[in-house]
Amino acid sequence: MLQVFDFPFQAMGSPCSVQFYADSAARAEDVFRSVQTRIEALEQRYSRYRDDSLLSEINRRAGTGVKTGLDAETFALLQYADQCYLESQQLFDVTSGVLRRLWGPRQTQLPAKQDVAALLPLIGWQKVQWSEDAIYLPQTGMELDFGGIVKEYAADVAAGICHQHGIRHGIIELGGDISVIGPLPDGQGWPVAIRDPRQPDKVVAQFRLAAGAVASSGDYERFLLIDGVRYSHLLNPKTGWPVAGLRAVSIVAQHCVVAGSVATIAMLKAKNGLAWLHGSGLPFLCCQSNGRLIDRLQH
């Protein structure tokens, strides 16, 4: 007899939840614990906020001449980041995190142009030396940031773990990034709601998702408000300035990691983002800078 179980938790700096149908509470607890452990492990390895993470170790060794060994999973993530770099015309760049020093969440003024220009030489995925076994950041001050990839990847991995444990009906949400384990027992999709980027209590789209994933990117999460102007947390690695063109993008794809990168790339392409979304062939919801909503979810 299947019952529904709902486990809210905190991970990757966001409110998360995993909901699924299982035949017993004990089983459900078991599955939840596996999921939580795995997500915690991913955070421990790839978070830039943790000094003991693999990512921080790679960043500390920048410019020292010491390489860092890679495991299969990290190599696969770097390959994925590489593909995103290629498909976005070098806009999706995991070395652009250094710009946070000037565009961090507590800035109250625009940074000086020289300061931004000074950081640009530290950015450039093509400069990173990496192979299947090791990675090395050649200049001191260079940093890797998996911000646009790991949370979405974690959602997919978590869905996979539930599936492996025999769960066939469930949904995972990690701070707005959703991955479906399987449809509701009657075959219907899970209800998904997307909110207005500027008015979080207003829903702009509602649909049912029986399989796949949803990920969103926008200037509503972490943004800077300077002199009344909202600046996105997404930074253009070539200019060093925040992108401006689209307010928010939500994408539906088979995997959350792909949905997330397509959304981020669309945001990074700013004014060209909408054309790219149309060309991708994936269902999407896009909010332009003038507030206009383009709904292609029932694609």
């Binding site: 993530l77 994925y80 990847y153 869905a159 773990i161 599936h163 088979q254 792909v258 062939g281 994936l282």
Partner: protein
């Protein structure tokens, strides 16, 4: 959620995502073609001296079934009309000439040969993570020839999918019921059979990110009625006719072939690709043949491509071939004067143009192609030949036009 059309960018991201551990569990198996494909082609074949003309209509459809299978079906209709060489004879000057079957006012097309061949074949492929299995079969029918055939292929990926090994086996069961005519003295009850088997062992190897090589070895065995029921052989005593018999070939043939295909990408030429093929084949009828083919696929602008191609072929004559024989037929166990068993070479050159239109209506892509090829058969082109069969030289041109729809 339907993802019917996805640009290549998204597809490549999906592929890169599937490499992430933890995602592959629920991912779809290896190489499944997610799209439906519909193809149609028209071809016109025309030989020199108005010998033979053929109109060919082909259609093919393939569709994904479930998450790990692809099914396909293929249809062909050939409409042949014309004449063909029946036997060789010595003219008044003692020179060997070909006798070509003449016009036939009573036939349906006014020529000596009016034929329609229809064939249907289908196949099913099942994909695993690093392997695939294919089974298929088909049926071909002409008024005097029926063929039923089956084939199977196994494919295994190794070495991080850089190497693929292929095993193939096929068998065909043919029934020949030649119609009585001026050139077939057998009665209408005559029916003969031919059985063919072919086995293939091949390797496809990715050499580096710009090139790959495929190498296949095949072994074939045919038995039964292998002669041509409408061809004759002339025997001479000096310049006088001494005997005249229907084509008689051995009842068995073993053959081997080794094919190598090399493909290389040239980024500096706008993503052009060079294709080079070489095949050596030999059989126990004494025919050794070399086939060399080269083509250059050049993308121009806006999804247009131009493809020039060149082919050279050379074969020796069969042990039991002679243009005309001397003496009596009883002295020979097998004899044939069929120009296809003689020593000769063939050079052909062609040009093809293709245009792809992406994202049209509900379809992912529509591709148009058209091409022309000119083929010249001459005894002078034979490698190491002595040009003694120039009486049977001919040429043909083949024009094709097709479209392919992916949706």
């Amino acid at each position: 959620m339907k993802t019917k059309k996805m640009t290549n960018a998204v597809k490549r991201l999906q592929c890169a995502a599937l490499l992430l551990p933890g995602l592959s569990q629920t991912a779809v198996a290896g190489r499944v073609e997610e799209t439906y494909n519909a193809d149609f082609q028209y071809g016109h074949y025309s030989e020199s001296n108005q010998r033979m003309e053929v109109d060919i209509f082909q259609g093919a459809l393939s569709a994904p079934i479930g998450s790990a299978m692809t099914a396909s079906v293929n249809l062909v209709r050939d409409m042949v009309s014309g004449a063909s060489p029946v036997y060789n004879f010595k003219d008044a000057n003692g020179q060997v000439r070909q006798f070509i079957s003449g016009a036939s006012p009573t036939s349906s097309c006014g020529k000596s040969i009016c034929e329609q061949r229809d064939a249907i074949s289908s196949g099913l492929t099942y994909f695993f993570d690093s392997a695939s299995v294919n089974v298929g079969g088909g049926f071909s029918r002409e008024h005097d020839y029926t063929s039923r055939y089956f084939n199977t292929n196994l494919s295994f990926d190794f070495n991080k999918k850089l190497t693929t090994v292929n095993f193939g086996a096929s068998a065909a069961f043919d029934e020949i019921a030649p119609s009585p005519s001026t050139w077939n003295s057998r009665d209408s009850a005559f029916k003969a059979h031919k059985t063919s088997q072919q086995y293939l062992l091949g390797v496809t190897q990715i050499i580096n990110k710009e090139s790959l090589l495929q190498s296949n070895i095949t072994f074939g065995y045919h038995s039964g009625f292998l002669s041509d029921p409408y061809k004759w052989v002339a025997f001479y005593d000096g310049n006088a006719f001494s005997d005249f018999q229907q084509d008689k070939r051995p009842e068995e043939r073993f053959e081997w072939a080794w094919l190598n295909q090399y493909v290389r990408h040239f980024g500096q030429f706008n993503d052009a690709a060079l294709h080079l093929d070489y095949r050596f084949s030999t059989n126990d009828w004494g025919i050794n043949a070399h086939t060399f083919e080269a083509s250059w696929h050049q993308p121009i602008i806006d999804d247009w491509q131009i493809i020039p191609r060149f082919r050279y072929y050379s074969q020796d004559k069969a042990d039991f071939y002679q243009a005309v024989f001397s003496g009596q037929s009883e002295a020979y166990s097998s004899y044939s004067s069929d120009y296809r068993l003689a020593g000769f070479g063939a050079i052909s050159a062609g040009l093809k143009l293709s245009k792809e239109v992406k994202s049209i209506g509900y379809a992912e892509s529509l591709k148009f192609q058209t091409g022309v090829e000119y083929y010249d058969h001459s005894s002078n082109y034979q490698l190491g030949g002595n040009g003694s069969n120039n009486f049977s030289n001919f040429s043909y041109y083949l024009v094709t036009a097709s479209f392919n729809l992916k949706f």
